[in-house]
Symmetry: C2
């Protein structure tokens, strides 16, 4: 186990390195932090920390920089979450309050997060699987062509075109619409399959094929839309990434374009509480020099989607975590109100 002072030294190293972006040496450390010991002592501590793998030297006779493991310890044990100040909170709320619809909420959230953290922000659209049905609408566009429109409690709308196996009258359509809604309106998406299972039985034989087609399209929509959408922003902040530009930034930009990768990234994060993935803890190779801070958000107590930021491992963790948490909380409130 590391002594209390060694932990303090690690904390000081992380803080200084995050601030200056340069390897930090023993002398500078004692000057900037009241450790109450001499540089020589700190050197011994640093040697120990290096042995344990928490810090490393870029090259002999340079200062130390934290390793992923060092950041991990820092985040877990040494740093809290820095709460937002009151003015910041007000600014967040004001900014989000202006949103007019779901797209706008998400867009504003991305902007806000990127601005607050000065990093790349990622916001997942509220997921279908966890939300509830507000309404299902069926529109007859042609005798054997129906459009299915699905409206969720978060204001999201999905539509699908359906080619029916047989012509389907307006009356039958209205009937189906009514029955469908009476069963699923207000219910969770995950419950829908069970709830509509026996619906075709109530219809005339010649209509059953169409009803079944409509239902299976509805169920498909639920599944397909689990490939959820997301929005990213603040990519310009990548330019503050580091010195050795093109090589660092390129894989990150590539990863950000792969929604699949990002969704997996957010998905891996725990459902409740904040998750911080540091450097190599990220499964995706291109993000090995980045950290991802993410958290679920939702309108009720439950998370319906996630949001977070992607930044260099050398980031201000307490501040970033504070901003992410605060934004998630306010977005949740906004969603609950609408």
């Amino acid at each position: 186990m590391l002594s209390e002072r060694r932990l303090q030294v690690l904390r000081a190293i992380v803080q200084d390195y995050v601030g200056t972006e340069e390897p930090v040496g023993s002398k500078a450390l004692t000057e900037r932090h009241n450790l109450g010991v001499s540089p020589a002592t700190v050197r011994n501590d640093m040697a120990a920390l290096e042995d344990e793998g928490f810090i490393a030297q870029p090259h002999t006779s340079a200062g130390r920089i934290p390793t992923d493991k060092g950041y991990r310890l820092f985040v877990d044990k040494l740093a809290g979450v820095k709460p937002m100040t009151a003015p910041e909170r007000r600014a967040i709320q004001n900014f989000l309050d202006g949103a007019v619809d779901l797209d706008d909420v998400v867009a504003r959230t991305v902007r806000l997060l990127a601005q607050l953290t000065r990093q790349v922000a990622v916001v997942q659209y509220p997921s279908l699987t966890r939300s509830t049905v507000r309404h299902v609408e069926l529109l007859s566009l042609a005798p054997a062509r129906v459009m299915l429109v699905l409206i969720t409690d978060t204001g999201r709308v999905e539509q699908r075109m359906i080619d029916c196996p047989a012509p389907f009258g307006e009356a039958s359509l209205a009937d189906l619409r009514a029955r469908l809604n009476s069963r699923v309106a207000g219910r969770r998406f995950t419950d829908v399959p069970r709830l509509v299972e026996d619906l075709p039985e109530g219809f005339d034989v010649e209509d059953r094929g169409t009803v079944a087609t409509v239902l299976s399209t509805l169920l498909e929509t639920l599944v397909e839309e689990n490939e959820e959408r997301l929005m990213i922003g603040g990519t310009a902040n990548l330019t503050r990434f580091g010195h050795d530009f093109p090589l660092t930034i390129r894989p990150v930009l590539e990863a950000l374009e792969e929604q699949v990768v990002l969704l997996k990234l957010l998905g891996e994060a725990g459902d409740s509480g904040m998750t911080v993935r540091i450097g190599h803890e990220n499964a995706y190779e291109g993000l090995n020099s980045t950290s991802v801070v993410s958290v679920g958000y939702g309108s009720g107590g439950e998370a319906v989607a996630k949001l977070g930021v992607v930044g260099p491992t050398r980031m201000d963790y307490p501040g970033t975590m504070g901003a992410v948490r605060a934004v998630a909380r306010y977005v949740g409130q906004i969603l609950a109100e609408s």
Copy 2:
């Protein structure tokens, strides 16, 4: 007026510079192109071209690089559009054919363009103003709450929540829905205001307020959605931008996040035919070192939106223009089929 040979020299300079990314000198030029004259002669020509402002020297005793004006001349007079090869065309078509809905078409187009041109691709969603109404749906969510859903012929769906001034019965709603659709279905969006103008007159006095509210929301939707959406991709290609990274790339990334800027950029481009904006021809300062190649695309003969790429002024114009044109053409076909 420049002599034929001087134009050839300019063309050679542009081609070489685009290929090597390095200032090109007189000797190298005569070696790589059959100009039939000696380096000394070429030097004279280059001096003349520099006087006219078509090329410039980064510093004394270096080779020349084209100026924006030089690229302009190159694009206008010296270079054609390089057509895609047959296999390329097939690949484009195959790739786009797999799309399942409008979002997917746009997403695939962005990907494709970015890949073909190795630059940043921008694709505008088909515009509402130029498309036609497929269907307008009204859903009663609560006694005095209605959801308006607008479906376009390009498959796009927009929804708005409406708080009615007075409760509005199901029967009135169905009535309004029917009348509204009979008037606007299949019509162009620009014609809608005129077509619905006198609609409230057919309703009971107590319903007229609500009808008017619904109509004004519909019209608002048309206008608001003129702030059209777009999708970008291939930002990772920015890493191939140049040597002096952070400074060049940052403003570009910032511009790309400002949809307003991009939309204006595309909007400024001419309605028909391909537009190439080179360097300082772009009004937005951050894009002064980039060129934008854009073209309209649409399902019929008419353009419903635009797409294009953003890249360094030092780009392969003929190839880029060929790719942009080809993609626009095939996207148009896809939209026409669906």
